[in-house]
């Protein structure tokens, strides 16, 4: 269903419907993530992707206009590039371990330490919160700084300069 949604989003030219479809896509992705046992990530994806992203896209759409123009040239080259990339990536997935293999190195390298010692050392049963805030606290610091920078960037881009308003008042 998500593949069908993606193709619909590619073909649609009315941007408002593309934004609504992207909200549906986020909710479907959150459902898939719950099926894969990633409950923290699903909650974040649902609230961020379907909530904040949709609001920001609608705000930008109001300011920018809501129709996409018809492409001038038939997109043969990008389509060929897409097919080549699909072939290369599918060839690459044959080297990956099978789905849900407990002996894959993914599961045996450092994760047993987090699962066994995490609740004992930090007193927090939710291993994701423990790893995020304590074991990998530097990464979370970087992430908070990235969010802060994005806020400052939007303020700097969309601020109205005071000089222009002062000049208009004088004239």
């Amino acid at each position: 269903m998500m593949a069908a949604l993606t193709i619909a989003m590619v073909m649609q030219r009315n941007l408002f419907s593309v934004v609504v479809l992207s909200g549906v896509y986020s909710f479907l992705m959150a459902t898939v993530l719950v099926a894969l046992d990633a409950v923290d990530v699903a909650m974040t994806e649902a609230s961020v992707g379907a909530g904040i992203s949709t609001v920001l896209l609608l705000g930008a759409l109001y300011l920018c206009g809501g129709e996409e123009a018809k492409p001038l040239r038939r997109p043969f080259v990008p389509f060929a590039v897409a097919i080549v990339i699909v072939a290369a990536l599918v060839y690459g997935t044959f080297g990956l371990p099978a789905f849900s293999d407990p002996q894959a190195p993914f599961h045996t390298h450092v994760v047993p330490r987090y699962l066994n010692d995490g609740p004992k050392e930090t007193g927090v049963p939710n291993v994701v919160t423990a790893v995020l805030a304590s074991y990998r606290g530097f990464d979370t610091l970087g992430e908070v700084v990235v969010v802060f920078t994005a806020g400052i960037g939007v303020i700097a881009l969309l601020r109205t300069p005071r000089r222009r308003r002062g000049k208009e008042k004088r004239e």
């Binding site: 989003m9 941007l15 992705m29 990956l96 371990p97 099978a98 992430e143 969010v147």
Partner: protein, 121 residues
Amino acid sequence: MTFAGHYTYWMTVVLMVGGLYIVIARGNLVKKLIGLAIFQTSVYLLYIAPGKLIGGTAPIVSEAFKVYSNPLPHVLILTAIVVGVATLALGLAIAVRIREAYGSIEEDEILAVNGSDEDRA
């Protein structure tokens, strides 16, 4: 190399290339940003899908469960989602400013206006 073993990866590849196609083949700036968001969510799927253990549960330690799914990609992807929305917000702010400066957010029209400016200068 069974079909069921790799179906998730192939769906991820389809979503990834769908998003990439929107970015490279469409000229509208806002639609390109949406394509970028689709590409990013497919990468989230690529990271989290191998972490799932069939018969396991969410990685919240409790007495009733013995097998847990891998929590490490959850942590990384949580950060990635928030960084993704920050990127989207900044990209949309730039698109709004481009619209005010050039009058349109279609790539062809912007390049035409830019080219005529360069011819005059």
